[in-house]
Symmetry: C2
Subunit: 468 residues, 2 copies
């Protein structure tokens, strides 16, 4: 699917100064499509020309779909008053994201141009911790008091006319409460009613009697992963966010959760490859940030891997047979590959809460069987391969070949079994210690199994060749 | 968050035969919560006892949230008529999933108990390819003709009263069309109107004038990944699905898409670790299926890795210095780790369409710089480590130590740079060839870089030590 489908049209209309055409394009296409048309190869000035043809609300909708780096670029280079108006119309969570990425000077001068009520809203939202539910939520939702009838409630919603999908759950809120230290606390969340139920209800029924009081809520300090998990489990379109006293402070919507799930999946993939969290898409991420998050893991793994030098050194005088050294990398890779498979499955199962720490014995039992089943296949393959495909120059005499074959078959099987156990148990052990199981990345498990792989291989060789 | 929060309550009520209590539990809690309470340690008979306390619609809602394996177990062991009624009330996509997992005999005897209209609906849905939009969609959606006024439309929706969130977009459909071969074709999709806009519109406005005609649709044969991508991009709650003639055949809803995104992310993680697609959660997946999907990749990687034996054999007579052999695994791991990082970033960027094949030169430029920056850090660390931390028993004399230090520093840097280039370019090359770039998994790149790592290391050693 081409993302820049309408780019040539936009470019042509700009060249012909066809502002009427641009306006109709902005207003008939989905804002995401318009934004994608201008994602590449358009100057900030040109984008502002396109946006200016339509009303502020549509401008804001299109603007929100532009990549955040492009948003920053557009805002930094623009006369301020128009931007202030645009920010007033942006959705509450997106504009906070934008403001937090602006240089402080630009941000402050912008905030001065924004309505006082909106400024207070922004000031509250920016205080929440990055990655918390608070930092993700929007304060733009529909609410009613419990005393209305269904038909009064619908009339009131007509007046509130909130944006986008946020109207589909209507929150029932209490009278405002005074804070002991002065000022008003957020209204307490009493219940929720879906727009569907409101419309299907008898017109005179009271909201109080219609509303659902068993509400699934998020706390404003919850991690955004919790929000994703709860929304995925209950299939809601939105979830209300409350503070310590049950006061309603915002909602989290399904579209934000889809973004969270995508980002977390990318983060999980990166951690599995031994990469620190990288911000932004591949080509847009800052070079220094990417470098740092790759270099730190490569260095740590390199230092861990020096363990192999010491282990190799210990067995150096035993591995005097050339054929044994030649086959070493082959044996080591088996442990790394089987360990990386097991670690990935177990880390993912822990992340999705398919297993918890106290299931360790189930995992152990399963992976012992699995490790055995995999080890026998690889071991037999190792036997066959060594016997029939070892270069003759490596083995002078059938006696040496037989011994080498046995060493290879046995150590490949053992390395596979041991890698599988290491890969499956270490993530659970890490979780039990309170660490992130995802620290057991594929490269980390390969490094760990290299060290033990050398020990296994050398000892099997010593045993079979009768070395002392 | 505990998933089995209410399990003790349910168990106690069952023991006390407190059916009134169970009914109230089923009807006040979210169906997902009730299902989770019974997810573990309950016999099918007990679950049926709990379900039977409430009405069929609530039974179906709770039933849908049970894991599919448990659903199959429940249906197989139950007198049929009650199950037939339950299936009539289940959501259309979930019941097809269930029926497709039943033994053919059970499935057929069940289908005979289901209403004819529902049976036709099921028969249509099962024909779609696994993984297609058709296999994921539901046929339960709200629709109106274009000639109604807004207030007539709302009245009509009151009568249709469709389930759950599927009411929030109302599809505007044409008159039914006759098929040339007889029978009726699906009605053509003319437009869509959100429930929000319907409620905010003047009561006498015509649906024809209110509806959005620029509709984003999915084709019934599209891959479910396309559905996920489109829904994530446009932030819709649901998307209409059409056939070749633009006839409306169903909708895809946001909750199904969240499941798809989670499953695809799990699949991506598994492929990155060199695991074939595994069906079901960690503890529930069939042993033979998991074994097969791990063994096939381990075997393939093992065969590839035998390349190292041939390469090692070629350089065997050069690597006579003990210290060189000792440090070999250290050098090899650097290439694998840096390659695995690069491959993961590029594969993910390709999957999310952040880059396409024709961006290859941008990626090459970036990874050349990045590889250089990473190589210099690791190379310097390799120099320092070798010079100061090599076991004295390995190097007799400062001349050997100096040479070894240079060999290590140089080959670690080169292995890092080469691994980075291999990991970043191979996925793009695979995509260009028409293969899945995710075939370049972490273990695959480690195996490939092992072969080249030996060549690099041996040649650097030959150069520095002046071996012939």
């Amino acid at each position: 699917m081409s993302h820049e489908l309408f780019a040539p049209e936009v470019r042509e209309m700009l060249a012909n100064q066809d502002y009427e055409g641009l306006r109709s394009l902005c207003e008939t296409l989905h804002p995401a499509t318009v934004a994608e048309a201008m994602k590449e190869g358009f100057e900030p000035d040109e984008i502002w020309q396109v946006l200016s043809t339509t009303d502020l609300r549509t401008q804001a909708l299109i603007f929100e779909y532009l990549p955040i780096t492009q948003q920053v670029e557009l805002v930094e280079g623009k006369a301020r008053p128009q931007v202030g108006k645009l920010i007033e119309r942006m959705s509450h969570d997106d504009r906070v994201d934008l403001l937090q990425r602006l240089p402080p000077r630009v941000k402050e001068s912008l905030l001065r141009l924004v309505d006082e009520a909106e400024r207070r809203d922004i000031a509250t939202l920016v205080t929440y911790r990055e990655g918390s539910v608070g930092s993700l939520m929007t304060t733009d939702y529909a609410w009613i008091p419990p005393s209305l009838t269904a038909s009064e409630a619908i009339d009131q919603l007509r007046q509130q006319a909130p944006d986008k999908e946020t109207i589909y759950y209507v929150y029932v809120l209490d009278e405002p409460r005074k804070r002991p230290e002065g000022g008003l606390a957020p209204r307490k969340l009493l219940g929720v009613i879906s727009l569907r139920d409101l419309i299907l209800a008898p017109r005179q029924a009271l909201v109080r009697d219609l509303m659902e009081e068993e509400i699934v809520t998020l706390h404003v300090e919850d991690d955004r992963r919790v929000a994703a998990e709860v929304l995925a489990r209950y299939d809601f379109i939105a979830l209300p966010v409350v503070d310590d006293d049950g006061g309603m402070v915002g909602i989290i919507t399904h579209d934000d959760i889809i973004d969270v799930i995508q980002q977390e999946a990318t983060g999980d993939l990166q951690r599995q490859a031994g990469i620190g969290p990288i911000e932004g898409s591949y080509l847009e991420a800052r070079f220094s940030n990417v470098w740092y998050n790759r270099a730190k893991w490569l260095l740590l793994l390199f230092v861990l891997q020096t363990g192999t030098v010491y282990v190799m050194n210990r067995y150096e005088d035993k591995l005097t047979i050339a054929a044994l050294v030649t086959c070493l990398p082959l044996v080591l890779s088996v442990g790394g590959n089987s360990g990386s498979q097991a670690a990935t499955l177990v880390v993912r199962a822990l992340a999705l809460e398919e297993i918890v720490v106290r299931d360790w014995y189930k995992v152990l039992g399963r992976e012992l069987l699995m490790g055995g089943a995999l080890a026998s296949v690889l071991g037999v393959t190792g036997l066959i391969r060594t016997y029939f495909a070892t270069p003759p120059s490596l083995v002078d005499g059938p006696n040496l070949l037989t011994k080498l074959t046995i060493v290879l078959g046995l150590s490949v099987a053992l390395a596979c079994l041991w890698g599988t156990l290491l890969g499956s148990m270490l993530p659970i052990f890490f979780r039990w210690l309170g660490f992130d199981p995802a620290l057991i990345s594929s490269p980390a498990i390969a490094t760990l199994s290299d060290v033990s792989g050398i020990i296994i291989y050398a000892n099997v060789a010593i045993l079979i060749f009768g070395l002392t």
